[in-house]
């Protein structure tokens, strides 16, 4: 709507001519200027500028919906009211049905914790027919670090849904619905994204997985402000893609160690004498999610995967609907599964902390279990 041409908006002829003469051709151009700037540029009076702007605004402004009709629409048209069940009962219950459609869901955790395993399971589930809890559609899996293993995918399928995957044609059909893209640079990724947006709906794509976002951005050589701007563009684009197609978008993120530059307080928060207000998390964990605070704002749901005293937990760190719960999980041959469906409630900013204690033992143990 922003790029609506002024020529298509029913304005009085005189002012429409002035707009085109001064090269103000889209609504975006007109609305980015203040009233006085427009007056000066177009050389017309205030009342005319105001009336032109109000007509343009009325056309460009999106229509409204009552929250009630939004709810009814979602429940009628979308699978489970706009949620994709992950198969992890406790998590699905907390998230009010599952991973929400139309917004970004982030999986963040240290290396080897199980993010890719989770993504594989989700891709598999999305390809299944609806009576098995799937979305009955295609999945686009953007595999940046070449971690996608089709053998592992089929193993998960065979263990979790033997009745489907034992038949070779069915296994082929399901696996055939998952399209893996391997962009080697950010530019290639950007190109793929643009192509995806165009062909999303007609190709029946029901889920998008990006594994991992951090690897894409960190691979580039730009620093500082320019990198932030590139990331901004991608955040905006992926969000709008999710929004207009109403599909779940799952993005994985890496962790990095916390450095002294990480801000954690406002200027009005008094600096206490060493550690009185310091939260315990600052001493336990030295890991934070990569990609910065702007990314943290942009994701709607953040699931933190961590290892604490030899056990793995999946925590709902940010969600519009769920309380801050932590569920213990483990990874078996049939993929990721919860050890308990009752989440433990975590108080305070601890929910955002990412631990990695006792991690090495888990990796080695896990690897043995997989072969």
């Amino acid at each position: 709507m922003a790029n609506k041409l002024i020529s298509e908006i029913p304005l009085p002829k005189s002012i429409a001519n002035v707009f085109s003469a001064r090269n103000v051709s889209t609504a975006k151009d007109a609305l980015s200027l203040t009233e006085f700037e427009l007056m000066e540029l177009l050389d017309v009076g205030l009342t005319e500028v105001r009336s032109a702007l109000s007509q343009i605004s009325e056309i460009v402004a999106p229509p409204y919906q009552t929250a009630l009709s939004l709810m009814e629409q979602r429940f009628q048209n979308e699978h489970l009211g706009g949620h994709f069940p992950t198969g992890l009962k406790g998590l699905d219950a907390a998230l009010c049905g599952g991973i929400p459609f139309g917004v970004l869901t982030e999986l963040v955790g240290p290396a080897g914790i199980g993010k890719t395993q989770f993504c594989l399971k989700l891709s598999l589930l999305a390809s299944l027919p609806t009576n098995y809890g799937g979305l009955d559609g295609r999945v686009i899996y953007i595999d940046v670090e070449s971690k996608f293993s089709s053998r592992r995918l089929l193993e998960i399928g065979l263990r979790s849904f033997p009745e489907i995957f034992q038949m070779k044609e069915m296994a082929q059909e399901m696996a055939g619905r998952i399209l893996v893209l391997r962009p080697t640079s950010l530019a290639e990724f950007t190109q793929s994204l643009e192509q995806i947006k165009v062909s999303l709906l007609q190709n029946q794509v029901k889920m998008l997985v990006i594994d991992s976002m951090a690897a894409l951005v960190s691979g580039e050589h730009e620093q500082g402000a320019r990198r932030q701007q590139t990331l901004s563009w991608h955040i905006s684009f992926i969000k709008s893609l999710a929004e207009f197609s109403r599909i779940p978008v799952v993005v994985t993120n890496q962790v990095r160690s916390r450095n002294h530059d990480d801000a954690s307080r406002y200027c009005f928060q008094v600096q206490s004498r060493d550690g009185a207000i310091e939260t315990p998390m600052q001493y336990d964990s030295h890991l934070v999610a990569a990609l910065g605070i702007q990314w943290a704002h942009a994701v709607t749901t953040r699931l933190v995967l961590e290892a604490k005293s030899g056990e793995r937990f999946i925590k709902v760190a940010k969600s519009p609907i769920s309380p801050p719960l932590a569920f213990p999980f483990h990874i078996t041959s049939s993929g990721i599964s919860l050890l308990s469906d009752d989440g433990k409630e975590v108080m305070g900013p601890e929910i955002n902390a990412i631990h990695y204690q006792g991690h090495n033992e888990i990796i080695n143990f896990g690897m043995e279990g997989l072969h």
């Binding site: 609504a27 203040t34 409204y64 999710a242 207009f244 108080m347």
Partner: protein
């Protein structure tokens, strides 16, 4: 007032000056047909210029040597001015929207003020959207229960509005009202509230914005929308930052556009007597050799809103801090986000801290 300041187009101004009309008084005695001839413009245009000039002249005070009594009377000459005494009456009858947390309402002086723009910012996950939804629901509390009984507009720029959550909060709000009703009615009559959560959801007008152009267009359009929907008593924008952080290369333009938007919102708040709540994100700011958190959109934006509240973590508790307000003290209070919405913090060591 010189010709420079008249709201007419640049070429008209240029013609007036080159024809020798540099002050308003010079235009007082000329007729429109003479002016049209001198400036070489059409008669209707000349008439328009004279009308604008007389309008501006009418709102100027007369010469400086008038007594106090006359000065008080000339306040009537300034379109839209009010004396401080009259404003006191308005301020005392100001309506507030409760946040459902008594501690938070206390430091806010009763709740979110109508006729003012309040900015609320905080880190991701602190509860901004939760507070936004709570306010959009609470504005609908009927007058009998101390609420405004109005409708709400929810402008969603990020897709964080979840209808199921709004339903939950609405349901809890109605249950609380029934509880309150039962508590007050000494005769223990089961006076059931007739409101249903669906009714509350029906009165939330939801707009989804996908670019900053749409955001500006919508705020321009709200003028007309609000004239047709006079029951709207709160506008929540969640978040005002998102689209302005991504696409702008020209920072000066961003500042101008943002301040234009803020002025329009303030105008809407005053004209339609409603509350405007803007939710903002945070960014890191380098000050005094360290990095600190600050609300996004820059220093110029921080001047534009009337009130500013920062939500932050203090230990394991969520706190709200009044960063800027013309009438409230700097104070912070704890609150919590529960399954029923925003409520008082349940911790025993909570306290309202005056700064």
């Amino acid at each position: 007032m010189e010709i420079w300041r008249l709201p007419i187009s640049a070429s008209q101004r240029g013609k007036l000056i080159s024809a020798g009309y540099t002050s308003l008084s010079s235009l007082s005695s000329i007729s429109s047909s003479d002016l049209a001839r001198e400036l070489n413009v059409s008669e209707s245009e000349a008439m328009n210029i004279l009308k604008v000039a007389s309008h501006s002249r009418g709102s100027e005070t007369s010469n400086a040597s008038c007594s106090i009594v006359e000065v008080l009377d000339t306040f009537q000459w300034w379109a839209g001015a009010q004396s401080a005494w009259d404003m006191l009456h308005d301020e005392e009858s100001l309506m507030h929207i409760t946040t459902s947390s008594a501690d938070l309402d206390n430091i806010l002086g009763g709740g979110i003020h109508c006729k003012e723009v309040t900015e609320i910012g905080g880190v991701p996950g602190i509860g901004k959207t939760q507070l936004g939804i709570q306010i959009a629901v609470n504005v609908q509390i009927p007058n009998d229960f101390g609420g405004l009984g109005g409708n709400s507009i929810y402008i969603d720029t990020e897709g964080s509005f979840m209808v199921e959550r709004a339903f939950q909060i609405a349901e809890a709000c109605i249950e609380d009202m029934s509880e309150y009703n039962r508590f007050l009615r000494k005769d223990f009559q089961e006076c059931k509230i007739k409101m249903q959560p669906q009714d509350i959801l029906e009165n939330i007008f939801y707009f989804r914005i996908c670019s900053y152009t749409e955001q500006i267009a919508l705020i321009n359009y709200l003028d007309k929308f609000l004239s047709e929907n006079k029951d709207v008593k709160v506008i929540v924008v969640d978040s005002v930052t998102f689209h302005f952080r991504q696409d702008f290369d020209d920072m000066a333009l961003r500042t101008r556009v943002l301040s234009g938007m803020a002025l329009k919102l303030m105008n809407l708040a005053k004209r339609f007597s409603l509350a405007v709540v803007l939710l903002n994100q945070v960014t890191t700011k380098h000050t005094e050799a360290s990095f600190q958190l600050a609300l996004a959109l820059g220093d110029s934006w921080s001047h534009t809103c009337t009130n500013r509240i920062v939500l932050y973590w203090n230990g394991n508790e969520r706190y709200a801090y009044i960063d800027k307000s013309p009438s409230l003290r700097s104070a912070s209070a704890a609150y919590s986000v529960t399954a029923r919405g925003i409520r008082n913090s349940s911790s025993s060591c909570k306290r309202i801290k005056m700064m």
